[in-house]
Amino acid sequence: MKPPPFSYAAPTSLAEAVGLLTEHAEAEPRVLAGGQSLIPLMNFRLAKPGYLIDLRNVAGLSGIRREGDILVIGAMTRMSEVERSAEVAVAAPLLAEAVGFIAHTPVRNSGTVGGSLAHADPAAELPAVALASDADLVAAGPGGTRRIAAAEFFTGPFSTALAPEEILTEIRLPVWPGGHAFVEFSRIHANFAVVGVAALIDLDGDRIRRAALALTGVAPTAIRAAAAEGVLAGADAADVTAAAAEAAGAAAEGLTPAGDLHASPQTRLALARTYLRRGIELATSRARNER
């Protein structure tokens, strides 16, 4: 299982990297971040980019900083750095918790936040986090930089709104004041999610003021569960079980998950309902405990 041949460059600036993407467009170039998703595909010879542009030496693409109410994370920031960051733990604990579900430490040491988001696996954790958090993703291309809302970023299985010559440079997450939970069902510990839920709950006294819920593994992309969020608005946080179950049921309406050897569509739906309920309950309880 050896990868096919490719041309390679390790530019030292973003401009150079974008330039290479444009210059070698006909070779089906791809950027190389941590490679933890791309290289296995290449070893299977399912991906055969003619040109790999390694971002490891490009300055300014990694790091975690706060800009007021926004947590900004460079696309090349390793997942393990996010996992350990005190800044993230405070400002975006949903992200910190979700990263803990992504494979194992060795993969998180190499894998990057941007790499996972740009890969857009329909069962990946970070797209659900980005959606629930209403994050913005910043892309740099030949024409300059632009912000893409998470709601527009994931366009299909393994495809995003990034143009072929664009590179994801950073993720901008609004800081969330309330409770959070990332829960997922996988068959083997730390294996990919069959179903995953990102839940953010904000309270007003003992009522749920706002909920943001996203699911992964149940659709061609991670999705926001808007109907469920509506059910939760105004619900009693001290006794959220019934509302959570109702919200989960509302989210399941209209979901037509695919089946595979691990779970039939019916089972995926049942798991989605279960994990939505569990995620809402956990996030709500954490919101209450943090008051």
Partner: protein, 820 residues
């Protein structure tokens, strides 16, 4: 009817009471240092810059005619030395060695020649300067296939009108026979109740972390092949591999290298060696062929049992089990290299530890468009254990009896005990194992917890308790008692050891065909040699000999290694000591009968002052010929070809299969699980396992095998399956989908040992390497069913995936299903 005088045929009963110094010690393994240093010497470590590398093009179709292969572009690719198609390989090599029922009609080749029969079957091989370049060239080969309808369900394969996997066979049923042992009809007529069930065990496999590989060289000067490979077994049958390569047997040398695990999957796995050898002869260069993971998952030829059971168990109201009728269809895949030997393993212990008096066993071997079965830890007996214990559980439920009491009611207690099939259980104490297991499992506590947690918290806890057998050391009769007129009624399954004492008294043990797979042959042999000669096990040098000029040997399999090595070492040591006694007696001018072995040498009986140490004897024999009588040869080396110590022939009518797996271990596993009825997830709260494998050579080592085997059993019970869809596509083609348990899926085991020595083997040892996996699937299924019993759910299909558990809960209706 039976023609064997059972008492007379048994080997002499041995006195096992001797005090042992090394056997029974959990010493550090002799093998470990090189592996810990990263100098294991596995097959991939032996690749040199001069090696060429092979890669195999595999079929994307489950069933198709190969119309045409265009290899010109591939041959011209950079670094390519050769491309050999299946049709070309069929000229260069004969079919693969095949112990199946009709090899001429279910012919198996190293590469498919006219048609492919499963996804992953090789159709061509490229040889290039590097594996990277070989794989580049694979993509340039154009194959035209004419797809054919595929069949992947064994019952459909046996039905009228199914696509034929082998046209020449005119059927997808490669073997069918019904065996009757004891008086089945009477036992069923007299039973108070007949318990029935249908059970399904899907195939999983060993999946060691190291794949199969070989490095081959051909010397045109001598016409000889030399092959280094991580599979070596059945030395005496290697003439079959030589036949495949079209060379005389004495021009083929297969040399074993350490393997990174096997669990059966490296047993007689000659295809990579044949492919490498064929390429070496064609290119005139040394060629390495190492399977990659996708090669191995789809094409290893060692998938495990894949069975459909219809079973009836005849019981009395008081729990006595009278007879059992077993109708089993086994899906062998596209070839059947080991025949139905897996059912011999089942028949060796088909009634488990119970006094069941009669057995009807109908076996049908179905061929389908899947990779073929091979060996996987248990070799088919673990499936029987599971099936039988499921039936015992069901009987207990239907009779309203306590499952522990039902087992005790039926335990065999007199040994040696002959079961209806004719095999013997040499020794055992099943009550003692059960008692210890109940104690280690804290059984009473968990029964109380089960009740409390369901009533107070609505949680579903289950306790599985199973008692089952783990046979060891197969006889060759198991290969052929399937046929009334077998072509080759072979009776040899030897194991050989040579012991050499050098001039300084240092001992070297030479093993033949005795692969290192993670079992500990060096440690076992070192402990046996140390026991014999009062040396340190770490002073023994153990080497592995190749096949060509080696002694006959069989290698690991059926948990035979420990017993067979014990016998071979005992035999060789006996010969050494005999010569050493005569030599010492001559040097001391004493009658040999007045000499005794004591503490590392021969002394005058009762007189340690007049003694010659082994070193003194050895140097004299090596260097001082004239000190000895003319008929005493120089040196001090002896060999023993030790064959199966207890085999008897089957009767002509096959109502008695004879003794063919006599050294019978036993175990009780008691897992406590929780089933999350919303997700179908199964987690372990506790797990106790008590095994009796006779005298233990290295208790820690055996405990390691129990845990490791149990981990694989957990995989089989809950996670692992080679999943083929209706079109024969292998859906679980990588470790993303073939799910191997990690440290989080395997609980800590509380392990107990009981030792009832075998009366027939050196030190009373029995084999025990397979036991964990032979128990765990049965125990875990029982535990899950115990948990779900209040919901009216019973799982009868393995693995018990979340999908299967949730489906069963949904089907059970409002009591069972739980929406989010």
């Amino acid at each position: 009817m039976t023609t064997v005088d059972r008492a007379a045929a048994a080997p002499p009963v041995r006195d096992q009471s001797a005090k042992r110094r090394w056997v029974g010690q959990s010493i550090r393994r002799v093998e470990d240092p090189k592996f810990l240093l990263g100098r294991g010497g596995y097959i991939a470590d032996r690749i040199t810059p001069s090696c060429l590398h092979a890669a195999v093009l595999r079929s994307p179709h489950a069933h198709a005619r190969i119309v045409r292969i265009e290899a010109a572009q591939a041959k011209a690719a950079p670094g390519v030395h050769a491309v050999i198609t299946g049709a070309e390989a069929a000229e260069l090599c004969d079919p693969m060695p095949d112990f199946g029922p009709d090899p001429a009609r279910h012919t198996w080749r190293c590469l498919a020649a006219e048609k492919v029969r499963y996804v992953g079957e090789g159709v061509a091989v490229v040889v290039a300067d590097s594996r990277y370049l070989a794989e580049d060239a694979l993509e340039l080969i154009e194959v035209s296939y004419e797809p054919l309808p595929a069949v992947t369900d064994p019952e459909r394969a046996l039905a009228e009108g199914a696509p034929l996997v082998h046209e020449a066979l005119e059927s997808n049923c490669a073997y069918e026979r019904t065996f009757d042992f004891g008086d089945v009809d009477r036992d069923f007529a007299e039973a108070d109740l007949v318990v029935r069930d249908r059970l399904r065990w899907h195939r999983s496999g060993g999946q060691p972390l190291e794949t199969v590989g070989a490095i081959a060289e051909y010397d045109p000067g001598t016409g000889s092949f030399t092959i280094d490979t991580n599979t070596l077994s059945f030395t005496s049958y290697l003439f079959m591999a030589a036949g495949t390569l079209k060379v005389p047997v004495n021009k083929l040398d297969i040399r074993p290298v350490p393997a990174g695990g096997s669990f059966g999957s490296k047993l007689f796995a000659n295809k990579p060696a044949v492919i490498a050898a064929m390429c070496a002869r064609q290119t005139g260069r040394k060629v390495a062929y190492l399977e990659d993971r996708v090669d191995n998952i789809s094409n290893c030829d060692h998938h495990g049992s894949d069975r459909v059971y219809e079973v009836e168990l005849a019981v009395m109201r008081d729990g006595t089990m009278r007879g059992i009728k077993i109708d089993v269809i086994d899906d062998y895949g596209a070839y059947i290299q080991f025949g139905v030997g897996h059912h011999g393993n089942a028949l060796a212990q088909v009634v488990g530890p119970y006094t069941i008096g009669s057995v009807r066993y109908r076996v049908r071997a179905a061929l389908t468009n899947k990779n073929q079965q091979g060996a996987y830890r248990g070799f088919g007996s673990e499936v029987n254990n599971w099936m039988l214990e499921q039936m015992v559980e069901l009987a207990a439920r239907e009779l309203g009896l306590d499952p522990v009491a039902v087992r005790r009611k039926n335990f065999i207690r007199d040994f040696p005990h002959f079961i209806p099939t004719g095999n013997v259980y040499d020794s055992g104490d099943y009550d003692r194992v059960l008692d210890k297991a109940l104690e280690l499992a804290d059984y009473g506590h968990w029964r109380a917890e089960q009740k409390r947690l369901r009533e107070e918290e609505g949680r579903y806890i289950g306790i599985g308790l199973i008692s089952a057998q783990e046979r060891s050391v197969f006889s060759a009769t198991e290969f052929w008692f399937w046929f009334d007129e077998p072509g080759a009624p072979v009776t040899s399954t030897p194991e050989s050891v040579s012991l050499k004492v050098d001039a300084t008294g240092g001992i070297t043990a030479i093993l033949y065909s005795c692969a290192f797979w993670g079992n500990s042959p060096e440690t076992m042999v070192s402990q046996f040699v140390a026991e014999e000669f009062d040396c340190s096990p770490y002073d023994v040098s153990v080497v592995y000999h190749g096949s060509r000029d080696g002694l006959p040997a069989t290698g690991p399999g059926g948990s035979r290694t420990t017993v067979m090595l014990a016998g071979a070492v005992e035999g060789a040591a006996g010969k050494i000591k005999e010569k050493a006694r005569r030599a010492a007696a001559h040097l001391l001018e004493i009658d040999p009968d007045d000499m005794e072995w004591s503490d590392g040498g021969f002394q005058v009986r009762g007189d340690p002052e007049r003694k010659k140490s082994l070193a003194e004897i050895a140097i004299a024999l090596h260097l001082f010929k004239h000190s000895f009588p003319a008929d005493m040869e120089s040196g001090l080396d002896e060999s023993k070809v030790f064959d199966h110590p207890y085999t008897t022939m089957p009767s002509a009518d096959r109502k008695d299969l004879g003794v063919f797996y006599p050294f019978m271990g036993h175990a009780c596993h008691v897992p406590v699980v929780e089933v999350d009825i919303e997700t179908g997830a199964v987690t372990f709260l506790h797990y106790a396992a008590v095994h009796d494998c006779g005298t233990l050579v290295n208790p820690r080592s055996l405990a390691g095998h129990i845990v490791g085997g149990t981990a694989q059993g957990i995989g089989t019970a809950l996670y692992e399956e080679y999943v083929y869809d209706d079109d024969g596509q292998l859906l679980s083609s990588s470790y993303l989908d073939y799910l191997i348990p990690s440290a989080m899926e395997v609980p800590e085991l509380v392990i107990g040992h009981v030792e009832t020595p075998s009366p027939y083997t050196p030190h009373g040892v029995k084999g025990g390497g397979e036991g964990g996996r032979m128990m765990a699937p049965a125990a875990i299924n029982a535990a899950v069913n115990d948990a779900l019993y209040p919901l009216g759910v019973r799982l009868t299909e393995l693995p018990m995936t979340p999908e299967r558990i949730l489906s069963a809960l949904r089907a059970a209706g409002p009591m069972g299903g739980r929406a989010g």
